[in-house]
Every structure is written in C-alpha cells, then in structure tokens.
Symmetry: C2
Subunit: 193 residues, 2 copies
DNA sequence: TCTCAATTAGACTGATCAATCTATTTACAA
DNA sequence: TTGTAAATAGATTGATCAGTCTAATTGAGA
C-alpha cells in the first residue's frame, strides 16, 4: 500500500500541468520534478511525450465522465435540474481555484497541429464521450418534458457544451467569472421548454 | 510599390501558422522560411517571439473586427439578421478551407500560461474588442425588438460568442461541420424574441 | 557621388528540449 | 538465500529552440 509514484500519479501531475500551462509549454523535466519520479521511470511507463499526452487525455476523460455520470444519473432531480446543478458545481469549482484551470480537451485540441497526431484523435474521442453522457440526460429530459425540444438532443447537447467550453476559454483569458455567469443564465433559457 | 517583405506580411504568416499549428508548436525558423525573410529582419521588426505573438494577436484582432463591423453595421438588414448573416459567412469560410483554421484568440489564450505573459493580456483585450462590436449590434436589436431581451445585451453577447468559440473548438478537434450547424440552429433560437 | 545610418543576411551561441543508455536497485519466484 | 527480470536513477546525447552578433547591403539625404 501507499505506492508513492504510481503511473496514475504521474498522469495526474501531467493533467494539472497541461491544464495550467499547456502541452508544449510543459517540459518533461517539470513533469518529472513535480511527480517526483526519474526519467527512467517515465520512459518505462510511456513510449514518448505524445503517448503520455494521450494517456493524460484519457485519464482526464475518465476522471471527468465518472463525476458527471454520478450527477447526471441522480434521479432525485429532473434532467434539466441535474444539468444545471452539475454546471453550478463546476462553476463553483473554477471559482474556488480562482479560475486558473482550463479544460484540458479544449486546450490540447487547439494546441496540437491537426495532421498526423495521436493527440488530435484522442481529443475528439474524449469529446464524443462527453457528448454521449450529456446527450443521454437531455434525451431523458426531452421525453419527460422538462427540457426544450426546439433543437434535437444531439444538437442541443453540442450547443450547450460548446457554450460551456467557450465560456471556459473566456474565463481563462482573464474575464474570470463573467462568462460563466452569462453561460449559466443562457443555459437555463436554452433548456427550459 | 510591391514591397515584398513588409512587416505585415510576416504578421500574416505568423497568424496563419499560429492558427494552424499553435504558438509553441511553431518555431521562428518556420516563420522565417514561410515569410521569406532573414533572422536579422525578424529581430529588427520584433523584440522577441512574445512581442511578435502579441502583434500577431492585434493584427488578427483588427483584421477580424474590421470585417465584422462591415457586416454588423449594414443597415439593410435588421440586427438579428445581420448577426446570423455574419456567422453564416464565417461558417462558409471555415467549410471552404476544410475546417482547418481555428480561432487565434481561443488557441493562444489556452496555450499560454496565465501568469506574467504579454500574450494573455493581449488575448483578453482582443476578446473585449470582439464583445464590444457584437454587443452594439445586439443592443440595437434589443431596442428595435428584433432580438430577445431574455438576457441583457452583454450577457447575451458573451453567451453567443462563447458558443461560437466552443463550436470552433469542437470543429477543429475533428467534428468538422456538425458543431457549427448546432451553433447555427441554437443561435437563431437564442436571438429570436 | 559620397556618407552614414538603417536594414538585412545568416553563421553562431547557449539553453532547453525529448529521448537514450548504462549502471544500479528493487521485487519476486524458485 | 539466490537468480533474474523489471523498475529506477540520472548522466548523456543530438536536435532544436529563441536570440545574438558581425559583416554585407541598401537607401536616403547632403
């Protein structure tokens, strides 16, 4: 027990550094130092930095969707309220940490050149997973009448996540809470039937 | 006339490369080679890469807002139709180039670590300029009744731009046209009174 | 035409990058 | 306890990075 430097610990460090400072802006030395492991261990765990990056993306994806599913499957609230509650919690979290965290998928997908990279593909796969989780909740809400049917479930899901991602972009650019509040307001409008 | 290698030419090259492949992922050598100038000229024009990056951001900001103003001040359409027309043209443009371009502000703001960078500040300033341009149009539409007043002008503007930025993120991640279409549909819903 | 400062060319520098390599330690099975 | 493979340490490597430096070229004013 108490395995000090497991692979997951390094992935967590990578996730945090990449979210804070970007992928290319974070060197392997910083990762090694922060995680407290040696270069030998790192390259024993991961083929190269891109492989590490892809595994960090998946780690982030699983870490996020696990938490989201927990909230989006909570039958004590109707689907619309579940969504609003989830985003409220997310916004709270960003605020608590002074808006320093970005979304890893957003950051890396923009940073990585599009052709020929493992990372681009990994970003899209994880985005699609996000969409699936939210879409299920929205479909449920559209069926029981608690969510607007003005746009089909997938379109509404993508619009909603796009607006959320964009709000995070503005937040991290220095606008802090304002875009999150605007999103919060518009979210309610777009979900309400 | 026909000044081959003006400062603006280099800025344009930087804008394109940064939009395609990101800031840290684009080396000065690639910029020099693409623009066809020497290292000496580059460092005669720009103090360092960050200074170049900041000027590229401003170049992109002016280049964009000039075009947006042209469409958003076109009195032949009502404000709501102006906005929809503008985004339709933007979407058309991205499609024409196979969705390879991202938004420079989105990309760079996520890529650059937040503390102590000229670039972060430059991103926010340019975002604020974008917001001002759109907000004026939305205010006009809210006054003449062609745009929804469910959210105040600034909040609605930020929501709209957030959703657009987020759609571009998803587009560049490999989802191509789908997020743009979802945005297009939701845009109409959120603007209509 | 001459002068001199501004611009440009491109070799060069030191720092830093991802990645490799060898030696050593650890963990575990026999 | 011993044998062996996996895991780890960390010095090292070559490539590439941003940025500097000196020499050559250009262009405008006298």
């Amino acid at each position: 027990m108490n395995v000090k430097h497991s692979k997951d610990d390094v992935l967590k460090v990578g996730m945090e550094l990449f979210r804070l400072n970007g992928y290319h802006n974070t060197g392997t030395n910083e990762i090694l130092k922060t995680a407290g492991i040696s270069r030998g261990s790192f390259y024993n765990f991961f083929k190269d930095k891109d492989d590490f990056g892809a595994q960090v993306l998946d780690y982030y994806g699983v870490w996020s969707t696990d938490y989201m599913k927990e909230l989006l499957l909570d039958k004590r609230l109707n689907p619309r309220k579940r969504l609003i509650h989830l985003f409220d919690i997310f916004v709270q979290g960003y605020k608590r940490d002074n808006f320093k965290w970005g979304c890893l998928l957003v950051g890396m997908s923009q940073e990585v050149g599009q052709i020929n990279s493992v990372l681009t593909h990994s970003c899209m796969t994880n985005f699609e997973n996000f969409i699936d989780v939210f879409q299920a909740c929205i479909e449920e809400g559209q069926k029981d009448g608690t969510i607007s049917t003005m746009q089909d479930a997938r379109g509404l899901t993508i619009s909603m996540l796009a607006m959320y991602n964009g709000a995070l972009v503005l937040m991290k650019s220095g606008m802090l809470e304002e875009p999150l509040l605007a999103f919060r307001k518009q979210l309610e409008l777009m979900l309400t039937p």
